[in-house]
């Protein structure tokens, strides 16, 4: 697949899009892990929600 004289522009565009998307996914995944860890930590210390259910429970 020949990308012509401006191949670097095409490649860079796709690479940058891929990079930003990966960064977004990574940030959201890391944030999720961080919040779950904090919730587990708080629960371990005995701080509970009014409903008595675990805060980290998803249902």
């Amino acid at each position: 697949m020949s990308l012509g004289p401006y191949a670097s522009f095409i490649v860079w565009s796709y690479l940058l899009v891929a990079l930003v998307v990966v960064l977004l996914i990574g940030w959201i995944a890391l944030d999720y892990r961080q919040q779950k860890a904090r919730l587990r930590d708080l629960e371990a210390r005995g701080v509970t929600r009014r409903s008595g259910r675990g805060a980290a429970d998803l249902s």
């Binding site: 401006y6 522009f9 930003v20 977004l24 959201i28 999720y32 919730l39 929600r49 805060a55 998803l58």
Partner: protein
């Protein structure tokens, strides 16, 4: 499963946990298909292979507007119906929308360099997207400036709706300004009638990116709900006397 059911954050979380893997898989598949089709697409008689940038530029540009629309609906949910998840939806969408807008600008700039000879051109579309990007950043700044989440949500909701009204006005003004200063119209990016060979990959990529947004948005909403729980528990803990 009505909207009212979804108002319960816990039920929303369990629903999200179930469908997120499927959404992620669908997104990945569609992205793979779209990328393959973009690679296989023919060269444009005028732009050559650089037309391939269109397949990632246009979906990002379209999404930058679409996400503001999603935030506007969420804003209405906050202000008018007081739907509990509206705040969460709006806050989660903003950084994702800003990222897509940024990508639209960058890919637009890289697309423009071969065509116009410069990395930046004050043409109507790029300029409007730049202003939209500034508005995204301002909105995120507002979210971060107000401490209390529900007050922040309401302030952000007003700004989002004002922004939504202004986006067509800004687009119109910038179009007008551009024709005033550039009587010779430069190569139009992606004309209104696209050959099927270009249209199909473009549509596939557009759907793929939209699915990507939905996936990321739901995941970010889940994080935001958990973050609020953490905050509530931390406040509770702070008010509990030490044993």
């Amino acid at each position: 499963m009505t909207l009212i059911d979804l108002a319960n954050p816990t039920r929303f979380l369990s629903l999200t946990a179930k469908i997120l893997p499927w959404l992620a898989a669908a997104t990945a598949i569609l992205l793979a298909v779209g990328l393959y089709q973009s690679a296989m697409a023919p060269d444009d008689y005028q732009q050559g292979a650089t037309v391939k940038i269109m397949f990632i530029h246009v979906p990002n540009a379209w999404l930058s507007m679409f996400v503001w629309g999603v935030m506007s609906l969420s804003a209405l949910g906050t202000l008018v119906w007081r739907h509990p998840l509206a705040d969460v939806s709006a806050k989660a969408a903003a950084p994702i929308g800003a990222a897509f807008t940024f990508l639209a600008l960058v890919t637009g700039s890289l697309w423009g360099r071969p065509m116009w000879g410069t990395y930046w051109e004050w043409d109507a579309r790029l300029t409007s997207v730049l202003i939209l990007f500034l508005m995204y950043l301002g909105l995120i700044a507002l979210w971060r400036a107000v401490e209390d989440p529900s007050r922040a949500a309401r302030a952000a909701a007003v700004l989002t709706l004002v922004g939504a009204i202004n986006i067509p006005i800004i687009k119109f003004s910038v179009d007008w300004w551009n024709t005033l200063h550039q009587p010779a119209s430069v190569l139009r990016m992606g004309g209104s009638t696209l050959d099927k060979a270009f249209l199909i990959p473009l549509l596939v990529m557009a759907v793929a990116f939209s699915l990507l947004f939905v996936t990321l948005h739901l995941a970010a909403m889940r994080n935001e709900i958990l973050r609020r729980r953490v905050r509530a528990l931390q406040m509770q803990q702070a008010s509990q006397p030490r044993a």
